[in-house]
């Protein structure tokens, strides 16, 4: 298993990062860190995908000199997926950051637990 993992070093790093990001997003109290966790998680997935598309010794999938053989280029599909995924994660990051800004302006805190308590209090008064 260890040997296999060392061969798949990119994936190994990717899933470790994924786990770290997932845990931060789930359990950290600070909103900014949560967002960082989310980005780590997303990026880890892209790393995973990108490494899956790579084939040793082949070129990027841009046709050069009219060579159109499969053996010349790497798999183009994961690259496309990563492109799409990046845009999605940019969008969600922007949305989460703007929510954080509004909440911080309101409650002067980045601690999600505290924000929830303060919001509850605000409603009751």
């Amino acid at each position: 298993m260890i040997q296999h993992l060392s061969l798949n070093i990119e994936e190994t790093v990717a899933v470790i990062l994924f786990g770290v990001g997932f845990t931060i997003l789930l359990l950290h109290r600070n909103l900014i860190k949560k967002i960082m966790g989310m980005n780590i998680m997303d990026t880890a997935t892209y790393l995973f995908l990108a490494s899956k598309g790579y084939i040793t010794g082949r070129a990027v999938p841009i046709v050069v000199d009219g060579v159109q053989e499969v053996s010349a280029y790497i798999n183009p599909v994961p690259s496309g997926l990563v492109l799409t995924g990046i845009v999605v994660s940019v969008s969600t990051t922007a949305l989460m950051l703007s929510l954080t800004i509004r909440l911080y302006e309101r409650y002067h805190s980045l601690d999600l637990d505290e924000i929830l308590i303060l919001a509850k209090e605000e409603e009751q008064t």
Binding site: G21, M38, V77, T92, L95, E123
Partner: protein, 499 residues
Amino acid sequence: MSFVQNFPFFSIILAMFSGIISSVLSGKKARNLSLVMIAVTTALSAGTLLFCLRTGESYPYMMGHFPAPWGNEIRAGILEGVTAVFFGVVMFLAVLGGLDHTAEDVEENKLNLFYIMIDLMLSSLLALVYTNDLFTAYVFVEINTIAGCGLIMIRQKGRSMSAAIRYMIMSQLGSGLFLIGLSILYDITGHLLMSPAKESVAALAASGAYRIPMLVIMAVVGVGLAIKSGLYPFHYWIPDTYGYATPTASAVLSGLVSKGYIFLLIKIFYRVLGYDNLVSSQMVNVLYVFGITGMVMGSLHAIHETDTRRMTAYSSVAQIGYIYMGIGLGTQYGMVAAVFHIFTHSATKALLFISAVGLYEASGDKKDYVSLRGAGYRNPLAGIGFTVGSLSMVGFPMLSGFISKLLFATSALESPHKMLPTLIVLAVSTTLNAVYFLRLVITLYSRRRPEDAPIPEVKVRSSWHLRLAILCFIAVNLVLGMWSQPIVQAIADGLAMFG
């Protein structure tokens, strides 16, 4: 190729296009456009459904010039058609019923943005229903999530914003798991379109290769979508989210968004992973256990809740548990029951959220039990609507909830090990539902006590759209309860088409 076959594509694009156009329209125009668009979309979906019913077949639809496995595809069949029509109807009525509150809760010059969210939400739901491509599903899941978040926080109160960020966090966890599941699946099959992916999964299962990754894919995709749809242990975001959004948003989120994810999950189970593989991998049992725990725990939480909207939200947790229990039964009938409960629950929960609006209007916008005392007399139609919805949730005969419970029970009889727990939990959860829903119904019809705080300016008559929406929702519930046979048949046929 018949022209009708283009309708699914038209409906998705139409919804998106009206969302894009709405960005330069005024709030009112955006609202009208949105209503017209939803109606037209529903009609288009109905056309698709009729076509599929007539031909008795499903068909793939190429999005572009390239067939599977190279180009994007969507796919329409009976089940997709039924679901799309149903989602359209519920969406229309939810938007119609919440019009006034939307106008109140949303700043005037941001109103068009609200309807952009609604439009794109519908388009993403339709895309999730029709999609035949896993990565398309991922992209539209994200649109759905962001639109959902937008619908929650557009009411810019502290609680709805904190609810929105919680929703977003949980959804991102779900999306992350879903995406990594897709990546692993792509790695071992090399396909993103569902039909070829299914073939390679079947080949892998037959050869016994990649057993561990297959297992993890099932778990990761299942858990990811379960988090997003609010299955029991992952339900923390539900009460705040449904409880503090504007009524249309609550109805849409609880009635449609979570159902869209569940529908996608069912579709992936059938069209990609193979239902037999799933049953043999014990994954269904995990969902089953989560489901029945959710049924009981959701109701217990709801009993302790004093804010009626949060109570309704917690009851959603229980109802989602029902759906997952049906999926987890591991039989064809169980799946039919689960899909039927998707319809039941979206119609009923939307009815509850919308008719509650009328009751709150008549109680000075208070949402606790004490203030709602006697609200059934102050706004009779809303009272009737809420009562019908509650009875349906409780499983009263002639209403849709009863039929879905009946279907669950009959399907449970087919799986020997799960029969007894299912029947017991059904009975317990029904009784618990009865406790909190009927308590509220009686409260609605009891007399106000002298010590109760007086109600500030009672709005006696709700607007016509609210009343129309409540009436239509009641009708939908009755139809589902009394003429369920053709619908159940259509669901069974549609699932058979999933293969």
